[in-house]
């Protein structure tokens, strides 16, 4: 119990201190998760909408794969991406190992099935009249896709929050691809793991709480936005 209290105090101190190393960790975390969520959204939302709204060959197989990948352990993704971008891997030349970009790719792989499956599921249960209505109004192609997504904005936001949660909370990929290198690829979660493995439970707790605080602020902002949109 002692380190829970220590964690709360620690979180406060860490934030107040503005320690440059801490700021660096924040920055790395933000860059990695931002980049990965961006990649996962750009690929995942269109694919998810397509899976939910249109019939095409292998649709069920793609969906099954995406659903199954919801339970892929981060370490496996880490290993997989590592195999591809390590020096000996096919993309070794790109020098992505132990970089923020490499971590972001791995995290995007992790977030993608969440975005795809949750979006597809939401589109499937969207009002059947929506797509027909948009078609009667002359929408097609990208505009149709965009309008369907806009109509489901609450769902997509929730999907995004879930994917963000998955990405920002994961350790396996960041550790394996990023390597938890101080000043370079140390994220909040790898730092938490690192501190915990050193027995610095108080510090681990403190960093974890800071992450939660950031997420709470983000969610607060989003909930404010949603309030302005109405149901």
């Amino acid at each position: 119990m002692d380190f829970l209290a220590e964690g709360f105090l620690g979180a406060f101190n860490v934030i107040r201190s503005g320690d440059p190393e801490f700021l660096n960790i924040l920055l790395v975390t933000a860059r990695t998760s931002g980049l990965s969520i961006l990649m996962a959204s750009l690929m995942g939302f269109p694919l998810g909408v397509a899976l939910g709204a249109f019939r095409f060959p292998f649709r069920r197989s793609v969906r099954l794969i995406s659903d199954s990948l919801l339970s892929v352990p981060t370490v496996v993704v880490g290993l997989f991406v590592y195999a591809l971008i390590s020096n000996r891997g096919p993309f070794g030349r790109a020098q992505l190992l132990f970089t923020v970009e490499g971590m972001a790719i791995g995290q995007a792989v992790l977030a993608l099935p969440i975005v795809v499956s949750l979006t597809a599921s939401a589109v499937e249960s969207v009002d059947q009249r929506l797509v027909m209505t948009l078609k009667t109004l002359g929408a097609r192609g990208l505009r149709l896709l965009g309008s369907v997504m806009l109509e489901m904005r609450h769902h997509l936001l929730m999907t995004l929050m879930t994917a963000y949660g998955r990405v920002v909370a994961e350790v396996g990929v960041s550790m394996m691809i990023g390597g938890n290198i101080r000043w370079h690829t140390r994220t909040i979660t790898t730092a938490v793991t690192f501190e915990a493995s050193r027995g610095n439970f108080g510090m681990a707790m403190a960093l974890g709480l800071v992450l939660l605080l950031i997420s709470a602020l983000l969610n607060g902002a989003i909930s404010f936005l949603k309030g302005r949109w109405r149901p």
Binding site: D127, R129, L130, M132, T133, K135, T136, L137, G138, A139, R140, G141, S147, E151, R230, P231
Partner: protein, 223 residues
Amino acid sequence: MRAVMEAMGLQFGYGAGLQVVADRLVLGEGRIMGLIGPNGSGKSTLLKLLALLLPPQEGRILFMGDDVRGREGALRGQVTMLLQEPYLLKRSVYSNVAYPVRSMPDREDRIREAIRMVGLGDGFLDRPWYRLSGGEAQRVALASRLALHPRVLILDEPVSSVDREGAQVVRDAILSARERWGTSVLVTSHQPSWLSGLCDGFWTMGEGRLSGPYGLKGDEVVP
């Protein structure tokens, strides 16, 4: 008089149930035709086929003489439909009516014109979608189709929730669409009196099979 839309040997069924069959249907330019039949006879299904929303399992649909197959996306907008249970986008009334004409230069005029044609004041434009009664929503949905100035307007029970005065207003709107834009109309309703004051002729549906046309003055429909 030219035929804007023609259908030949159409067939469609939802798996086991009713099979909708239309051997021959011609919609002449500027014509307003009614479609009547009991519940479940397949009216809405036929209208969705003609509005290029469902792909026919058999038969062909022509628009201005050419087969529509493969051009459905491009033709929607020229051929538009008001669904039986209208769905409004989760936006303001203005955005709903503006949606189909977003990129047109005379957009604002079209929006205002359309909303007035269905008997709603400009004050409605600012309302969000959820602040509408059943009849108001139905009128807004119609307005967004009118804003398109469509060649073919397919209306599935457009006045089911509209009040009596509103029904007259909607009838006038349909007539003036024909007058101003040469719009051809295909419309269903379970209110025969409203329909007979509007249509040039009728088709009827019975257990999925189309018959007609009936009640035309003369036989101006070219084959």
